[in-house]
Amino acid sequence: MSVAELERLVAAGEDGLGDILEVSMGPHHPSTHGVFRMDVRLEGEKVVRLKPVFGYLHRNHEKIAEHGAYLAAIPYTDRLDYLNSMTNNWGYVLAVEKLAGIPVPERAEYIRVIVAELTRFQNHAGLVGFLLQDMGASGTPLMYAFREREKILDLFESLSGARMMCNYLRFGGLRVDCTAAWLDEVRQLVAGLPRFVDEFEALLRENEILMARTQGVGVLSRELAINAGVTGPMLRASSVNYDIRKVDPYGVYGRFDFRVPLGDHGDVYDRYMMRILEMRESLKILEQALRGIPEGPIMDPKTRLRGLRPKAGEAYGRIEAPKGELGFYLISDGSGNPYRYRVRPPSMINLTILEDMCLGRNVADVVVILGSVDIVLGEVDR
């Protein structure tokens, strides 16, 4: 080895940080929750830059909806956030109801709450399972989560005919009414679900590895969260009390007694716990809704589904979807199809601050942070 060489090595040693490794994580990656990609620059294993790249599932939902009738868009909304078709339906029909001024019967509102909260429950259970999967828990929590999810999907199927793509809500009400037997099944399920949440918590809530992996990781400050338009459990984990069910109550949410859990640290653990606590609150809402559900029609017979032509104008309807504020913005030009149809996808906007949360952290943290954001690519890319 020559002296010059040695000097070069010493210089390299002074530098000491090593080269930057540019890795693209995704679009095919086990824990990017679909075809999401992060262009990551690594120094060793530390992330020094992270650029989210998406659009790999951009399937032109908005364009298609602008070409179709108002009714035809409902089954497409199922496929936005494909884990939560019921709440997607609700967001859309809410916007149409606002746009066209359609009233909704009370019984329909109650059933909407029931299906929406069941949806929220299964979304959160699944998310927690996926999050732990990202942490390498070899599938067990995910299996337990899906075990319960299947029970909920069974209910959805016997109500609406499909497991995932329910296509159940209609502007002005619902597609079909539920039977008393179905409600009884829901009651039975709701009575059994707390046991699952308990089991889930026992499995991992106090697990040292989980706490070490999540506490203090991916901290999101209150100010940044608000400014970046983060919504949903992620926002509340950063101790912002903002839940559209409380702030801008839609449907009959104003009638129910439930609480909004808030986190103080804004880290992954808080986000994880928000989901678990919200599952419990959902069960509370479900109990009340099941108690209070009135008899009556589910649809105003005057409502036109086929060939709806709202007056020219626009409306923005938003709901608290499991992932955050799901909004639909519609502009009508008086014709049978929306002139502009726009989805406010919560998980896409929640991704805005992904880089801020990941900088300086480990590769392993990145997947956990991403997991805690709870994205669904169908919604991010639409």
């Binding site: 000491g16 540019e22 693209s24 060793g44």
Partner: protein, 125 residues
């Protein structure tokens, strides 16, 4: 056994056996490919996998120094273990004084470790 057997012959045989155990299926697989299922390399197929994208930049880059430190500390403790082993074998018949001197040896190293710890050097970057 009446035949003088050096134990290392068994080790060598085991080594050969293990290598054969590894090579045989590889050879079989090669044979299978020859006879039935031809290998079909291709520009895309034999490209580096990177999440479905074309790999950009080389993987063989200069790595950060944090790994190196661990290797050195490991080396130190490996050597320590090598000295510990004869001591451990003789331990039952050693005097307390000898044991104390080994304790000193250990404490010296442990102290170094604690010092490194306090300097934050054993915190993974």
């Amino acid at each position: 056994m009446n035949i003088p057997q050096h134990p290392w012959w068994t080790v060598i045989a085991l080594l050969l056996g293990a290598v054969a155990f590894g090579i045989t299926p590889l050879a079989l697989a090669w044979l299978w490919a020859k006879v039935f299922s031809p290998q079909k390399p291709g520009a895309e197929k034999n490209a580096t996998y990177e999440c479905g994208l074309e790999s950009k930049g080389d993987a063989w880059i200069q790595f950060g120094a944090s790994y190196y430190l661990y290797a050195i500390v490991f080396l130190v403790f490996d050597v320590e273990a090598v000295f510990l082993l004869p001591f451990a074998v003789a331990f039952t018949s050693l005097s307390a004084g000898a044991c104390l001197s080994m304790l000193v040896f250990l404490v010296l190293l442990a102290e170094g470790l604690v010092w490194a710890c306090q300097k934050g050097m054993l915190t993974w970057a």
